[in-house]
């Protein structure tokens, strides 16, 4: 019985890629020779037998975004087609290049190779010779289970960008900026692909609201070393504005490939706010009333809020000082208050036993920070606010009745 098996030679669009299949695979010349042999056999026997000719798989690398940065993770997939639906083995290779066209300036050895249906790698920062990576050339080859390889092999050139330096600016303290008060400004620089050490010292610029420049200096006390110097380096300057207005501190970090990052801190420098009495004890009488005192009493200012000098002292902020107190006293029948010498603590003790019951005395406290803003209120004013805000006073007066 003669089996009639059709011969099918399937051509791809690309004639060069047409192929045949014979068990372990064959070349075009092999296929022709095999065909002649079959024809000879057929001539001898009157029939012939042939296997289906295997065809090459076709492949393509699926695209990714236009740009990647050095150090980025890249994941690639492929699309393929094999006419016979054979299993296809994919071989990926990735080369670090400076100019990757045609592999003219790429490393000899791939930095990544794998046999998978997908690829995943991290873009290296530098080539074997130490040059920064500008491109990555990815080669994909495929072979079906009968050994037919996809031709041509697929190539993808990924443009690799230099990541700009990271830059984080931060000011010290949260106080209101006032003229001639120094603050620290820290610039934390990083560079994921070149490393912070390659950046050098950032460029600092001061933009003043007037012709009078502010001072930008190295700190007197050096900051502690960076905990992760291989990732972040911190540069610190002390900035002292000289006048009120809008100030800008601009910092620029530049990497070896001239990529730079610029950031700014804007400061509104205002006249110094005065300290404010936040709490008082005992209660302050108002409206002409008098506080009856029968026992020795401590007149106190338990809390003063300020951007400069506070009370009680805060040990955590070296920029903060302590409020200066001034106590005044007006005895029975005295024409005016007089300052009590050396009474500069936050409290003032008053013993009514030193007076006659029914006497009226007045105890006054005034507070100052290092600005020593003069109080322009009348001496007879029981309170005083140098900014004319009742919520922030620097003077308070107790009218006391000795009982």
């Amino acid at each position: 019985m003669i089996q009639d098996i059709p011969v099918v030679i399937r051509a791809e669009g690309d004639r060069d890629s047409s192929t045949c299949a014979w068990q372990g695979g064959c070349s075009s010349l092999d296929a022709v020779n095999r065909l002649l042999t079959i024809l000879a056999v057929v001539g001898t026997t009157g029939c012939f037998y042939t296997d289906e000719i295997n065809q090459r798989p076709s492949i393509a690398i699926d695209g990714i975004g236009d740009e990647v940065y050095r150090g980025d993770k890249v994941a690639l997939t492929q699309t393929h087609d094999d006419p016979e639906g054979h299993f296809i083995k994919f071989t990926w290779r990735a080369y670090a290049c400076t100019d990757g066209e045609g592999g003219a300036d790429c490393d000899t050895e791939p930095f990544y190779s794998d046999i998978l249906d997908h690829a995943g790698f991290t873009v290296p920062f530098i080539r074997d010779g130490g040059l920064p990576v500008r491109n990555v050339r990815v080669i994909l080859e495929a072979k079906d289970e009968l050994g037919a390889t996809a031709k041509p092999m697929q190539e993808l050139v990924i443009v690799t960008l230099d990541r700009p330096p990271g830059l984080q600016l931060e000011r010290g303290g949260n106080f209101v900026m006032t003229p001639n008060r120094a603050i620290t400004i820290s610039a934390a620089v990083s560079d994921l692909d070149d490393g912070p050490a390659s950046l050098g010292t950032p460029k600092w610029e001061v933009f003043a609201p007037t012709q009078t420049p502010g001072t930008l200096a190295d700190p007197v006390v050096m900051p502690p070393p960076d905990p992760m110097p291989d990732k972040i380096r911190t540069f610190v300057k002390t900035f002292t504005p000289s006048t009120v207005g809008e100030w800008e501190i601009r910092v620029t970090a530049t990497d070896p490939l001239d990529r730079s990052t610029t950031k700014s801190l804007m400061f509104t420098v205002v006249p110094p706010p005065p300290p404010c009495i936040a709490q008082l004890a005992p209660i302050v009488p108002t409206g002409g009333a008098a506080l009856p005192i029968t026992d020795p009493t401590l007149f106190r200012v338990p809390v003063v809020v300020d951007d400069l000098d506070v009370f009680p002292a805060q040990s955590g902020d070296p920029a903060l000082g302590v409020t200066r107190f001034e106590w005044w006293f007006k005895g029975p029948g005295a024409p005016a208050h007089t300052v009590v010498d050396n009474a500069t603590a936050s409290s003032f003790s008053f013993d009514p036993a030193g007076y006659t019951p029914g006497d009226i005395v007045e105890i006054r406290v005034q507070i100052y920070d290092r600005e020593n803003t003069p109080m322009n209120c009348l001496p007879t004013d029981p309170t005083c606010s140098v900014i004319s805000q009742p919520s922030c006073i620097q003077r308070q007066t107790w009218r006391v009745e000795v009982r």
Binding site: I283, P296, P302, A313, Q314, N342, T344, S349, P357, G358
Partner: protein, 571 residues
Amino acid sequence: MKTAFALVLALLGACAGDLGPAGDDGGQCDVSITYTPSMPVAGPTSEVRLSSAVTNSSGAHSYTWTVFKGGILVPTTDAQGNGSEVTFIADAAGPYSVTLDVVATLGGSCPQAHATVNVLRDATFETMRLHIVPPITAMGPTVDRLIQVHDGTDFDIGPVVLEASTLASGTVRNSSGVGIPAYVQFYPLGMTGAMVETFASGTGAFTARLLLQPHDVIVIPSATNIAPERLTNYTTTGALPMLSAPDSISGTVHQGATPISGARVQLTIDGVPTTLATTAANGTYTVLGHHAAPGKLVKVEITPPAASGLPRLEASGMLSTQLAIDANYAGITLRNLSGVAVRRGASALPNRPVVIVGQVSSTSMIAGLASTTGYVRIPTTTDAGGNLPSVLAPATTLFAVTTVAPGDLAVGSVAAGTPAAIDAPAMTTLSTIGAGGADALSGVTLDLIPKDELAAANAPALHFIADSSGRVAGSIPTGGTYDVRWSDPQGRRGPLVAYNKTTIDTSYALPPAVYVSGDVTITGSSNPIVGASVQLLCESCTGVDKSRPIAEVATDGHGSFRLAVPDPAAM
């Protein structure tokens, strides 16, 4: 053994999903931590047992305990087989920070619970008052509670939750029901140190932020002819009771058979003053108040006219105010100090203020009380020649406090007879150092609180700030007596107080500090209380020292505080 119920902060977190640990009642998963013993003492074998309680979560749970001491992880041992209880060895004193994460096997996790185990160095302690006054914007009440500061042991109080309060309002009314202006003090029952004060307006209207509990109220009317009164058990939801009709309390002030007119008389009955009276020409007086209940202390103060030269008399005792309360000056001889020179060395001191002060021993008595004491405070001024004008004073040894110049005071003795002169010695140079062990303490403060003669003359406290080497330099009145108070604003050492010192030592060693820390919050709010005044006060002190802080801070931006307190072991 007591179980200490520690801080439970896991109340607000939600359990995740339907399969989460929410209970059948739909409530939120809660986790609490308890520990035993309640007051663990540090030691190599001191074992602390931590227990968990999980509510509103069904099924089994897994437990992850974390214990830190000063940032170092402390190993724990499973004590129950399922992780719900663990133990650790507390070999060092101080706070141990505990966190517990609970995961339900059915899925979801409960909020993390926190606790602080304060491990003591030993069982001895000092009792102090923690006094917290929130800023007015926080709308919170004053807190005043006792705490124990243990030897050598830092103590983390954890959250100090200000209790619920209300802005109470009302009217102060006299016995006729008419609103009157007054000074009003509210004392919450059980926390009298958290006194709140206010003024009632001309119509008697007042407002005050008070705890939601009964208060005792002391009303001191502005009008001196209306008797102050204590009103008990005022509740913030009710009206302030009217003042009741006062009682008249009378007596006579005399010196032998001679009535003393123009003397000021006031009584304080069980802490409430009466009205102020002035003796008539016949020495009689009448004050308005409320009769003392049996067993209540009555204090009587007689202030004679300054020109009389007689001392001010005070006496306290269990008196019947229903009877006449007489005061009799006896055993007092007066002299005139006219012409006595006041000098510094050979230099006359013309036109200088001088205050004659001193205790006066005599047989004078108020209502027969032997506790009667007398003292004088006679202000005067030297004449152009530097001599005293006509001044009557008891013929006993007294003292003259002379203001030679602003800030320049002198304490000189006034001999019992007729002294030829009163010396006003030059100021004494002060040079001393505040140190912490062998370390200089830059910026420490020194307060010299006048006592005795200087205090009687109302001399101010002296305040110094040390230089970078801890040194204080200045000058102080010679012959004065002071309480010496050192304090370190930076909290490196605890404060130091030395009482009644006539000389200042060349150096002082501030004691080691233990630290009391905590976080101030308010009921019903998760916001921290920023800028609250936090003070530690002396519990056993009296007088003005009771309100003088041992240590004080203001809460920071997180509502936290940390007070440096003298180690009780070093006191």
